[in-house]
């Protein structure tokens, strides 16, 4: 791709993709931006095209904003820790030679193919349900009181559901990273007198740091917009209202498009701030 000719050919070839992306992303973004400065409440028939920053001020100063922000951060942090720790352990396990390796690997990836709505419903009705859930049976079988997960610890329940969905992704990326580790390095460390735990800490973990960074970045971007899992389980009640869910409530439940749009733009800005922040602290791992 060095010559001028091949460069311009490359430009022409990626042009359609760039065009589609622009239309796909830019137009909704611009419309949201436009509505966020308007007083637009379709059910009441109000439309005032320019009210300045009123929507932003209202959204940011409302008491729900701060709690939604904190909920979002807790949720993302919880899911990230479970998927990263679980993913590393599973990757190390799956890397061991064993009988039926291919089949087990497919099983591990399976949750990724289940739609979020479906998996959330399955968890809600099959596992968490107080009367008929498997966990209740398990608790009763062990002689404990059944525990109502979704109302007693709703945030944790949603974290578990989403982590279950994202664990395969993390495992898959980390497994390829584990497999790319030169086995002679581990043997050298073994001869250097490093026991298994030290080999993990000094050789495997540093080797995985780049893959972990990638998993954190990609997952954070997707996890900031979790919606279906909250919608079908708690409906945003009991402290599970994230920023995304708050925007949804403003637009559809309160029918305030202007206020919701302002929330949307704030969420976009926050996501970018978090992404840049993450890049800064972990991005060092991406070069070299």
């Amino acid at each position: 791709m060095a010559t001028a000719h091949s460069k311009s050919a490359a430009r022409i070839m990626i042009a359609p993709a760039v065009f589609v992306l622009l239309v796909w992303m830019l137009i909704p973004l611009l419309m949201t931006l436009y509505f966020s400065f308007a007083d637009y409440r379709p059910l009441r028939g109000t439309f005032d095209a320019w009210i300045g920053f009123d929507n932003y001020v209202r959204f940011l100063t409302s008491s729900s904003f701060m709690s939604a922000l904190i909920t979002t951060l807790w949720m993302v942090a919880g899911i990230l820790s479970i998927t990263i720790i679980g993913g590393v352990l599973l990757a190390l396990l799956l890397d061991q030679p064993m009988y039926g390796q291919g089949f087990v690997r497919i099983l591990v990836i399976a949750p990724f193919f289940v739609m979020p709505t479906v998996s959330a419903l399955v968890w809600k009705n099959m596992f968490f349900n107080v009367d008929n859930g498997l966990f209740s049976y398990l608790f009763k079988g062990l002689g404990f009181q059944p525990y109502d997960f979704l109302s007693q610890s709703p945030l944790l329940s949603i974290i578990v559901i989403v982590a279950w969905q994202w664990l395969p992704f993390a495992t898959l990326i980390l497994l390829t990273a584990v497999q790319s580790l030169d086995s002679e390095q581990l043997e050298a460390a073994e001869m250097d007198g490093a026991p298994a735990l030290s080999r993990f800490r000094f050789i495997i973990l540093p080797h995985l740091s780049r893959a972990i960074t990638v998993v954190i970045l990609i997952q954070t971007i997707f996890l900031l917009s979790i919606f279906a899992e909250i919608f079908v389980t708690t409906n945003g009640a009991f402290g599970t209202r994230t920023l995304t869910y708050l925007v949804y409530q403003r637009v559809l439940e309160s029918q305030n498009v202007g206020l919701g749009s302002a929330g949307g733009i704030i969420a976009v800005i926050l996501a970018n701030v978090i992404a840049i922040f993450l890049m800064r602290i972990v991005g060092k791992n991406l070069d070299n």
Binding site: E190, D192, A194
Partner: protein, 334 residues
């Protein structure tokens, strides 16, 4: 101390026996080279000694202690891998310090040993760099540094020079040789390159398909190869072999004459042939001679200033006392 004894050591991967039962003694301070073609089990044998593979049967003793089931770390050996196996995210200093850190040595002693190793290996200016920022030869030195700071009972090298270019390889060969003289520690060195084996070893172990074909000093192997395999493997260019009537004259099934023991002449000699290619190296000339009616090609090593060229007629005479005789099984006739 580093006297290593293998007693009936055998290794099989599943049904495939890579190393048939094998006995070998390596004396303290010796430089032993395992040499043989690729896939003959050299690395496997080294890894058995290191403890990275378990023996299928037999015993390995280091300084009279049976270590067959002892973990690699506790055998007191250090290994230099073909890929160097440096830790890429650690600086050179941390790489070299790693085994010391694992053995919880105190910091002052660590620094002393690292400084000493770095000065021997010319790494002092590179201690804060990462392995990725070093050349192949420097990485090799770091790997050696990581081995020597432990002051092991023996060093194990697995084809350490095969990733280096020819000029660097010669330099490192000399350095490793001198390091052995300075440290006087046992070294076991694996290579498929007979030149490395000949130039570095006190004792060469020639392996074929896991069997030891011969053990001896480089000159013993050169002068008295025990069988046809060793005869063909040691020496460069390789020995010329003749069968049939020529061999029968000497009372053998096969005779062998090294290229340097054939005297070429333009006028007279025992065998007549035609020069195919002559390679002038300056110090030597390698002549490839055809149409002798004995074998396809005979290689001759002649002086640098010999005046023989393509298609010239040439006469060859083997030096009488330099003819190696082998029987029908390929074994040397004394």
């Amino acid at each position: 101390m580093g006297r290593i004894v293998l007693k009936g050591v055998r290794k099989a991967f599943g049904d495939v026996e890579v190393i048939p039962p094998l006995d070998l003694e390596i004396e303290d301070g010796e430089f032993v080279v395992f040499v043989g073609p690729s896939g003959c089990g050299k690395s496997t044998l080294l890894r058995l000694i290191a403890g990275l593979e378990d023996v299928s049967s037999g015993d390995i003793e280091i300084d009279e202690r049976n270590v067959s089931t002892v973990s690699p770390a506790k055998r007191g050996l250090a290994m230099v891998f073909q890929s160097y196996a440096l830790y890429p995210h650690m600086s050179v200093r941390k790489n070299i310090a790693f085994p010391l850190r694992m053995s919880k040595m105190d910091k002052a002693e660590q620094d002393k040993r690292i400084a000493h190793a770095a000065s021997i290996l010319n790494l002092t200016d590179y201690l804060e760099r990462r392995p990725g920022q070093l050349s192949g030869g420097q990485r090799q030195r770091v790997a050696i540094g990581r081995a020597i700071v432990r002051e092991p009972a023996a060093f194990l090298f697995d084809e350490p020079l095969s990733n280096l270019d020819a000029a660097l390889r010669h330099g490192m060969r000399v350095e490793i040789g001198e390091l052995h003289k300075d440290l006087a520690t046992t070294m076991i060195y694996v290579t498929h390159d007979q030149i490395e084996a000949m130039t570095m070893a006190d004792k060469i172990v020639v392996l074929r398909a896991g069997y030891i074909e011969q053990v001896g000093s480089p000159l013993e192997l050169y002068h008295k190869p025990r069988n046809l395999f060793v005869a063909g493997f040691i020496g460069s260019p390789t020995m010329n072999l003749f069968e049939g009537a020529t061999a029968a004259e000497h009372g053998a099934h096969t005779i062998g004459v090294r290229p340097e023991h054939l005297v070429p002449s333009k006028t007279e000699g025992l065998w007549k042939g035609r020069v195919g290619l002559s390679e002038h190296l300056g110090s030597d000339t390698f002549l490839h001679i055809h149409d002798t009616g004995l074998t396809e090609t005979i290689t001759v090593r002649a002086g640098g200033d010999i005046d023989l060229h393509h298609n010239d007629t040439v006469y060859l005479t083997p030096e009488a006392d330099k003819i190696h005789r082998f029987d029908a099984q390929g074994l040397r006739i004394a």
